[in-house]
Amino acid sequence: MGIQTIPATGGGLTVSDLIGAEKIELIEEYKSTSNVTSITFSNIPQTYSKLLLVANAITTANDNTNIRVRPNSDSTSGNYQFETDFEEQSTSGSHVFTTYNSGRSEFQLNTHNNNASGNIYSFRFEILNYTTTAAKLVNWTLHYTPIGFNRSREIAFGSYRSGSTTNAVTSLNLSTQASSAYITIPSAVNASLILFGVK
C-alpha cells in the first residue's frame, strides 16, 4: 500500500483515527490551597463509558500512606480486591514488591515507602464500566516522591476488580489513610485533581 499522503485540508487523518474513537471530556477540576482530609466528586454523570481521575497533589502524611479512592461512600469490607506492584528507589538501592488484597472497602493506591515530611504524588486512576451493575475493572499508576533529598521514590501500578459490590459509581471520594493527613492541591504550581469522562 505504501506511504499515504495526508492532504493539508479535508480528508486527512484526525486524532480519533490515530487513537480510536474515544472522546475525553472534562467533568470537574478541583483546585484549592485548603488543607482537606478528603475530596469527593458527587453526582457523577452516568453518560460515559469510563471515568478517568488524574491528580497532581501533596499529602502531609508521613508513613506508608496509601491513597484511597472509595466509590459511593460505601465502606463495606470486601467490596474490592486488587493486586499492586511497587518499585521503590532509595539510598539503599532499588526494591520491587507485590501485594494482593481481597478485603478492602475501597480502591487503595498502595505505596510502600516510609518517609517523613510529606509526599508529592501524581496518579492516573481509570474505572471501566462504572455505570453498569457489573463488577468494576480499574487500572491505575502512581508516582510518589517524598519531599526532601535522599528519600526513596516510588512508582506503583495495579489493577482491581470489584468483589462483592456491583453498584454503579455515582460518587468518588479521595483520601489518605493516615489519621490527620491532608491532601493539598496547590494552585501555585498548577496542581489539580481532575475527573474526566470517556465516551
Binding site: 467533568i27 470537574e28 478541583y30 484549592s32 485548603s34 488543607n35 482537606v36 482530609t37 478528603s38 475530596i39 469527593t40 466528586f41 458527587s42 453526582n43 457523577i44 454523570p45 508513613d63 506508608n64 484511597r68 465502606s75 483520601s175 489513610q177 493516615a178 489519621s179 490527620s180 475527573l195
Partner: protein
C-alpha cells in the same frame, strides 16, 4: 474540631469545603483505626524478621 473535607457536585459545578459531619467523622475514625492496626501488624512482622 473535626477535619475539613471538600465536596464537588458534578451536576452543578459547586465546590463546598466544610467540616465532616458526625456520620463522616465516625467513618473517618473507623478508617484511621483500621490503618493504625495494619501499621502495628506490619511493625510486628518487621520486628520478628
Amino acid at each position: 474540631m473535626k477535619p475539613q473535607i471538600a465536596e464537588i457536585d458534578c451536576s452543578t459545578g459547586e465546590t463546598v469545603i466544610r467540616e465532616m459531619n458526625d456520620e463522616e467523622y465516625a467513618q473517618h475514625l473507623i478508617d484511621v483505626a483500621a490503618w493504625e492496626a495494619e501499621q502495628a501488624e506490619k511493625a510486628l512482622e518487621n520486628a520478628s524478621e
